[in-house]
Symmetry: C2
Subunit: 309 residues, 2 copies
Amino acid sequence: MNAYPLQMLDDWNDLKLVLAVAREGALTRAATSLQIDHSTVYRRLKAVEQRLGTRLFERSPGGDYCPTPAGAQVAAAAERIEAETQTLDRAVSGRDQRLSGRLKVTSSETLAYRMLTPEIARFRAANPGIQVELAVDNRVLSLSRREADIALRPIRPRENELWGRKIADVAWAIYAAKSLAPTDPADPFGGHPVIGWGEEVNNIGAADWVNRSASSERIVFRSSSLVNQFVAVRAGMGAALLPCYLGDGEPDLQRIGYPLSDLRGEMWIVTHSDLRTTARVRAFFDLVGEGLLAKRAMFEGLTDTITDK
Amino acid sequence: MNAYPLQMLDDWNDLKLVLAVAREGALTRAATSLQIDHSTVYRRLKAVEQRLGTRLFERSPGGDYCPTPAGAQVAAAAERIEAETQTLDRAVSGRDQRLSGRLKVTSSETLAYRMLTPEIARFRAANPGIQVELAVDNRVLSLSRREADIALRPIRPRENELWGRKIADVAWAIYAAKSLAPTDPADPFGGHPVIGWGEEVNNIGAADWVNRSASSERIVFRSSSLVNQFVAVRAGMGAALLPCYLGDGEPDLQRIGYPLSDLRGEMWIVTHSDLRTTARVRAFFDLVGEGLLAKRAMFEGLTDTITDK
DNA sequence: AAGCGGGCTTGCATGCCTGCAATGAATGCC
DNA sequence: GGCATTCATTGCAGGCATGCAAGCCCGCTT
């Protein structure tokens, strides 16, 4: 004579499962997103539908799982629950005072390539208990969804649930290999062939500038990766617009002209405000933040002799 | 280089676990409420706290688990999630068009004793695929929390998330054993000793009436169970106020006086509005509802010869 | 003070769930 | 038209969480 509710959904993980299938539209993709096997998804979904007595997805041949009204309803609820757990996850992590555990950092390619790795090495030496995971990704990973704990970004964060500090201004300049003799001092690119961004790249200040300043036929090599552009410059392929912290550190390169005053960006180190009290996040902010701050001159293009004139 | 969020709470059932422990305040009780073993709760909670890096409960000796701020936060979120799943559970059950599965019905003691069981037998015969579970409980089980699918209640439902139909008015009268000779025709209890409710019973119309109408010393036997009172009447212990559907069916009893016009109640069959489209709920409403409706005269006290005068 | 009882903690064997791998089916592409 | 790819489905073996049972600690009672 118990009064316990008769729950069909007594396993809350089933909701997660349904959500994943609804999002991905296929068992296999849902499985990879959940980091479990296809067959498990298949069997558990079957069990859930049987228990509920309702079909949650319409199976099209070719493996297309389209949610039924019931399935959509379940997925919607699961989505709300997911948001709840994400908030909770950050909140409880904010109480974590251990200097151990995982720490996921994301940054742009170039920053990782030139500036960040030595700082992380220092951090690791000081905090051997913390496993650092560096996600180099030119996409902006979501700190709210906890795709990373800390981001190093070339833009000032707008969302006010984020929290961070400015590292430095970022100066940009044109670079070419020293072995390449300038042919036209009046041209911003020194008369060299130009290395630029992919045609499809928009809304990035540097890419827009290059597209405006060099005619399409001058651009002999395009890459959406700044590191690739950098390598191309070093190989003497032409001139490219690079952040000074990337170009100045390379002895074989030289600047063509001064840093471009209208391209100054800002480098920020950012976390979610819920995580700023987490011990390992704070430690990273302190150590790496200070380390990068010490290299401020590098970011701002003040180390090169040209600017000293 | 995955961009998957780093979730500490990747197992949503952990939230359920924490909620249960927070609610019960002890591992053992939490375990029974979850219908799993103590040791499992112990180990899983330990694992969760370790993964989160935060203590969720303060252990007092003597086994008192008091939530820390973090634990309270988790429990609060879990509570919201629970509400979400309960809503969802009803919603998806509302789509269940099978005439199979479980069906939990709750009713008062007396109704089950006298009227309901034969109806359920009829229902079972008509729907052999449905397992009926009858929770006889004088507490009002929550249909919203899905402690039952269907309730038979002696009061008109107030909450507008509930849905139901009125079966009949319920008449009450004083009954005594036929073997007991009435001593005082002017007294509502015929001069007999009185059988009444426990002193602590309030807010039940019948109980209040008896307490008002009979002095405390006249009441020779008290029980919070109407069925017990009924048995006592049958044993010749005295007179009691009983619903007519309970008293009239018993050949050894006789009414003392007419049904009390100021105690007419209403018998309702009720479900959650989300469940009214569920096939097995609808079937129960149709079959049992009709069956009880056919016995309306019994509820309204119209079968006894006294009222025919 | 000693016995008792409730609740937490831990070792051990079982069983279920999971991952793996093979099979089958369907679509798109060359 | 055949091949390659993607996805669903099912048999099978291993591992991990679970339940069971015993041990332990603490507070309460007599």
